[in-house]
Homo-oligomer: 210 residues x 2
Amino acid sequence: MRMRNKPWVAKYLEEFDHDVLIKEPSVYKGKWRSRLNKDIIHVEIGTGKGDYWLRMAKLYPNYGWIGIEKERNCAAIALKKAVVEPIDNRCFIIADASMISEWFADKEIDVIHLNFSDPWPKKRNHKKRLTHDLFIETYDKVLKNDGQIIMKTDNQQLFEFSLLNMQDKWRLNSVFVNFDSVVHQDVVTEYEKKFIDEGKPIYRAVWQKR
Amino acid sequence: MRMRNKPWVAKYLEEFDHDVLIKEPSVYKGKWRSRLNKDIIHVEIGTGKGDYWLRMAKLYPNYGWIGIEKERNCAAIALKKAVVEPIDNRCFIIADASMISEWFADKEIDVIHLNFSDPWPKKRNHKKRLTHDLFIETYDKVLKNDGQIIMKTDNQQLFEFSLLNMQDKWRLNSVFVNFDSVVHQDVVTEYEKKFIDEGKPIYRAVWQKR
């Protein structure tokens, strides 16, 4: 999610001193389960303002939830929300997800979530899509063998691209071309609610390694 | 497509005497290319009233087009349209498509089209869906090695079922969750136009054997 620079962000992040933020994630490589004290690790790549990440952490307290967001304005907003929540099964990384294999050991993650990721519509930018091979090969490394990638998006081109691009090495566990997050008891963020209110379909797919 | 019994149909079909209708399709097993005098054979399973089948035959005169419909009221309407068209690259079979391997030799068909097939919503009827394994295994036999299955539907459950069910033995060549038949110069039937006019999405997938 893109947003304008907020004047308070630089100072807020510089002075940020709460253990929800992991400033050197590679320190925890191979140790995330003990860091979060949970046996199951979920990672959301591209949290935006962090609503999904944080509300899922509250909804599923038996899992550890790691949010990753490179956009510093969004990250700061997510952290502001996180510090007032009395939960500790979550942490946050501000960096580009292409570095994920530097932070996680092989097969350390159970589930990767991609929610309303940037669709990068121009052909020359498709390599930046989070379901492009450049990323998928990295997820493959850090996800355990029966680990899952769960994607939710409003963008039809990104969804079609992902269905095509994932199919050779990943198997669809489930797919919805008009997903009802309410019926399926998934967290609905403000961002998603806007699309639902406009009557637009939400697409969702869950993949597992073949 | 279901419809009420039309009083003229039984007599019309009984007396029907035009070579567009193939009354004993097994006679042409292995000989469809010479029967239609075309090198490429397209088959539509479940033509309904035949608009797609017939208009595609006119639009693509270099291919042979075989329509299959088991519902006799629909079939009769399709034949009524066919006999007044001055083209001969088409023929029609009135029977259940589960018999397709009785009528076609191995690898005799280039492309199978499934348009707005009955979604059979109840779980116990899923085996009647035209993308159920029971059918797919038969298509596999009669389609040539790089042959394609092209599905177009307005029904999300049928589409999702098909994406899941086809993925192990078939590879998606293309997929659209909001297909614009006009932009893609595909034939738009009255049936499809109704959905487009209501702003409902059309789903389309093209599969090829893995």
